[in-house]
Assembly symmetry: C2
DNA sequence: ACGAGAATTTAGGCTCGCCTAACTTACTGC
DNA sequence: GCAGTAAGTTAGGCGAGCCTAAATTCTCGT
């Protein structure tokens, strides 16, 4: 490696590239639920070779977006977190707008938002949000960061971990897999729905659910992608 | 230069990159009004060094998007024209949507559309178009190509070339310069407006116009960016 | 406490798009 | 018909992001 000193922490207002925004989003998520993002996790999430992640992470550190100790994982700096939340806000506002204003199904919006989030201006995002009444969550129940970077990251229990016999309210579901979303929709497992876990088969077996008057069985993997709160909760 | 034969005319369905789409749009426009696009024109239009254009044009030719003879200018192939029109459609539908559905002013939409056109899916464009009633022109009067690549390229006379004493109807204005658009708007020079050219100062001097009950003077440069048709015309 | 295996980084390469500098071709006026 | 200039191309380079293969470093179980 040749010298790579330059001015660490340049951090001009140059707009971030799409790959950079994608890395920051991924790092944000892993850091939120694991304390720090592992190279391998980032690589897998972005479908990139781990070696490439090392290189990019160096560049992110040079830009002051990330703090990084070799072999020790990656963490966002304040600037990096700000950028990540801005991208996440874009993504989720776009998803909400596409569903509420343009008649998209909730299974199709992720891919579209994944591209638009890198191209939309702050003005556009704000106008979209205003047009649909300043939504607080996206169509999958994920919280939308505010303009100034505040986000409600209250952790939620997964349906897979609920106690048998309890009734819970769906808060949020995974947003990436369109097929899964269509299936969840068919079952009625949408944010806001009340679900009673009536039975859990042993060895990570299927769960039996009551949703309204219907009953169904879902695998543990699917249930883990459904986040819930106590039925009465806010 | 190393060998560069590969398979000319690869032309997979791989999505085109943003720079490629920008080149195709530019080439389309220059070819339309000059018969072929000159390297220098493309370079200036895209704010790129002429040498870089040579390189890119080679790549476009390799991809079968452009036909190219050294020193002789560039022309779109059928595939290239199709791609260019698709991008132009995206751009103009987005502009129209931003104005009609999200309250943008006509001076702000170009920059936004310039980025979004590379990220929006065909589905999104079609939904946007449907949401605002399948517009036929963008906010500046430019014709929107149809889904299948048809476009009305009827050439129009510029206001700068109109005969003194005639009344014409504004058909279309340049879309790139926000400041100019705000000024045109203040003058009432919007598509659909009727303008009478009452006087033309010699030596490319200012034109005197009557727009409704108002009168104003504009420079020849500005007038050349305003396209008009005979007042009664379709 | 040490070695196996997993995680990570380094080394070396590639493509795309861009740049500057230097050269070549085409065109124009005389 | 030939020189000067404008237009265009080639040569050589660079950074961003990606890759594979080959080191490293860390971690964990025994």
């Amino acid at each position: 490696m040749t010298a790579r000193k330059r001015k660490a922490k340049a951090a001009r207002a140059e707009p971030l590239t799409a790959p950079v925004e994608d890395y920051l989003k991924a790092i944000y998520a892993f850091e939120r639920d694991s304390g720090a993002a592992a190279t391998n996790d980032i690589a897998q999430h972005l479908s990139i070779a781990p070696a490439s992640v090392s290189g990019m992470v160096q560049r992110l550190a040079d830009q002051g977006l990330v703090s990084y100790e070799r072999y020790r994982g990656v963490r966002l700096t304040a600037a990096g977190r700000r950028a990540a939340l801005r991208t996440i806000r874009r993504h989720r506002v776009i998803e909400a707008y596409l569903v509420q204003a343009l008649g998209y199904g909730w299974d199709g919006v992720h891919a579209e938002a994944e591209r638009l989030e890198h191209a939309a201006s702050d003005t556009l995002i704000d106008r979209m949000a205003a047009a649909i009444g300043e939504p607080v969550t996206d169509p999958h129940g994920a919280p939308i960061p505010t303009r100034d970077g505040t986000i409600d990251e209250t952790p939620h229990q997964s349906l897979a971990d609920a106690a048998v016999g309890t009734t819970t309210r769906v808060v949020r579901v995974g947003d990436e897999d369109p097929g899964m979303l269509r299936y969840l929709d068919a079952l009625g497992l949408r944010p806001g729905a009340e679900v009673t876990l009536t039975q859990r088969a042993p060895f990570d077996g299927p769960l039996t659910l009551a949703i309204g008057s219907a009953t169904c069985q879902v695998g543990a993997a699917l249930a883990s992608r459904v986040l819930v709160a106590a039925a009465g909760d806010d």
